[in-house]
Amino acid sequence: MLTQYIGRRLLLLIPLVLIISVISFVLIQLPPGDILNMEVLRLRSAGTQVSEEEVEALRQLYGLDKSLPEQYWLWITNILFKGNFGTSFTYVKSVSEILAARVPLTAAVSVLTAIFVWVTAVPIGVYSATHQYSLVDYFWTFVSFIGVATPGFLLALIFLWLAFVWFDISAIGLFSQQYETAPWSWAKLVNMLQHIWVPIVIIGMANTAGMMRTMRGMMLDELNKQYVITARSKGLTETRLLVKYPVRTSMNPVFSTIGWMLPGIISGEVLVSMVLNIPTTGPVLLQALLNQDMFLAGSIVFILSVLTVVGTLISDILLVWLDPRIRYESVA
């Protein structure tokens, strides 16, 4: 039953990915003008002579003279069948080459951030709910309001400033200088882990704050349910019964929030990574959008969206697997 469900969901993935690709493509085509116009403008303002013929030649080279549907078709078939994401105008490099190092990093930062959010938000939410209106509860309520209301990039700036003022260190980047260009090694990985918690905490902050509130609310609902009193009336210790029953039930909606958490994390990551100078896809995406570097921007949007969809799928499957009520009703 569960495998059937997974199979169906995987099949659904195909049209979904295609739709995403169309939307990614259309979105990056939306702004007026194209990369060539900008490039030509830049060259001309610099005093370089660019003839109409040369422009036309470039246009053909990038396939910009074709109709939009044709351009899309070329783009998507190249991706799907050749793994070729096209060439970036600004970097004059293949998109795959640019993203090869950055996409895994973005994925790592996102997944670790999601884990950080859970590991902090769930226990705090549970504690706040079981100690409703206590000082600790008020404290975390306050913190969570601040966390939700403060943009990540601001937090990043504040953090950088504090790190600099108090510890005289620069918290910028994901690696120490000696590792920045070094090939991957065990030591480089360790070095990365030593740095990566900064962006994780900062990007995770808003989500942690939100998740904390969700968890607290869910728990408060569950705590009043009859089955909690039943469990207590059996003689279980408070901790054991809380973990086994209401926490377990409250976790389900939390699992299902992965779906909307991932896009949030990824977009939050863009600005924070800019500020902290982290070599993820974020800064490149922003730059590519500004330059109308359409193959690069489109590919990033496409890849991140697909990753998000896959993440959501995983969380849905997890949910069905963990919740017997869904397992036997909706799926059957």
């Binding site: 009859q226 089955y227 003689g235 210790t237 029953y245 919740d323 017997p324």
Partner: protein, 350 residues
């Protein structure tokens, strides 16, 4: 006190301290539960039945609820006197002592079969958990066999399969049977059934009642049975306590209470049962008025604003005491006794 008392509640007061004021949900309740017997508690919604029994197992949420006075004596030995008694009201509600009693010596069946089991674990898992918690030296494989035995005992067909079912896969009646199986899995001396059949339809209700009575005979446990339904009380109870606004207003053996109801409130309740055998058309006579707001309890007798026998100058002046009028029959009403309740009621009047 009677030599065969299992549980003795003396002047129990459980209050809720809320922003709006104090809700005296249980305000001086005393009763005895005898070994192997059934005490029925009836009364309208909100009169404090659940809070009374939750107080016994110390399940009243605190804050806002507190046992502010009284004793809840659970007698240990067979002779039931003095030394072998634990005062549950004095125990730490999270402590090991009360936890050892919950589910083992005293267990509970609740009204809502829909939500009484945790939704994420199988019925068997939750019964086995209770068994392993209280029965030392039982291996998990034995516990599973015990759980299946218990399910079979409450009349669940295909118990070996149902043990692995999730609560939502069972009907309300089956779930309530499973609940009873869980409550009885450690052979308690007292079973508290808080409206165990209210949410079920009539035929299932009858089956569950029959089952409970048969099991009570088999196990020899005492039962506190809460219900709104007088017909149910007449069927299951040996002794009946009628509650109104946190107090017992009348208590007697079941025959005495139905033959000779004395308190105007009890009379009203009995009159509200439709009498089909009467020659006139069956008619439901409800008690006039509604239960007062917990913050605006009338001065004097708490029932005075709805009482058809209200005596001005007497009933609004003081609270009548629960006084024995006939042997074993106690009533809280100035029609039968002019004994007033102690000083506590004076502050209640304001």
């Amino acid at each position: 006190m009677a030599h065969d008392s299992l549980l003795e509640i003396k002047n129990l007061m459980t209050h809720f301290h809320l922003h709006e004021g104090i809700v005296r949900a249980v305000d001086g309740v005393s009763f005895d539960v005898r070994r192997g017997q059934t005490l029925g508690i009836i009364g309208e919604s909100g009169c404090g039945k659940s809070v009374t029994v939750h107080s016994i197992l110390r399940l009243v949420p605190s804050p806002p609820g507190n046992i502010v006075d009284g004793q809840i004596l659970l007698h240990q030995g067979e002779n039931g006197m003095g030394a072998g008694a634990i005062d549950l009201a004095q125990l730490d509600p999270r402590g090991a002592q009360i936890r050892a009693i919950r589910g083992a010596e005293i267990s509970m069946v609740f009204q809502e079969p829909m939500t009484s089991f945790g939704p994420m674990h199988t019925i068997g898992n939750q019964i086995i958990e209770t068994i392993l918690l209280h029965q030392e030296g039982v291996e998990s494989s034995d516990a599973r066999a015990l759980a299946i035995d218990n399910l079979r005992r409450v009349g669940i067909p295909r118990a070996e399969q149902i043990v692995d079912a999730y609560p939502h896969q069972l009907s309300g009646g089956m779930r309530q049977r499973a609940m009873i199986a869980m409550a009885l899995s450690c052979t308690p001396r007292l079973l508290i059934a808080d409206e165990p059949t209210t949410a079920l339809d009539v035929t299932i209700q009858a089956q569950i009642l029959e089952l409970l009575m048969a099991l009570q005979e088999e196990v020899g446990m005492a039962v506190i049975f809460i219900t709104h339904n007088l017909g149910v009380i007449a069927e299951v109870a040996d002794e009946v306590a009628v509650m109104y606004l946190g107090r017992i207003v009348e208590q007697a053996s079941v025959n005495e209470l139905f033959d000779n109801p004395q308190h105007p409130y009890t009379q009203g309740l009995l009159n509200s049962i439709p009498h089909i055998d009467e020659e006139k058309l069956p008619r439901l006579r409800a008690i006039e008025g509604v239960v007062p707001d917990p913050y605006e309890i009338p001065s004097g007798c708490a029932f005075s604003d709805r009482c058809p026998s209200f005596m001005p100058g007497t009933c609004d002046r003081a609270m009548p005491a629960l006084d024995e009028t006939v042997s074993g029959h106690r009533v809280r009403c100035f029609l039968y006794s002019d004994v007033e309740e102690g000083l506590v009621e004076v502050e209640n009047g304001g």
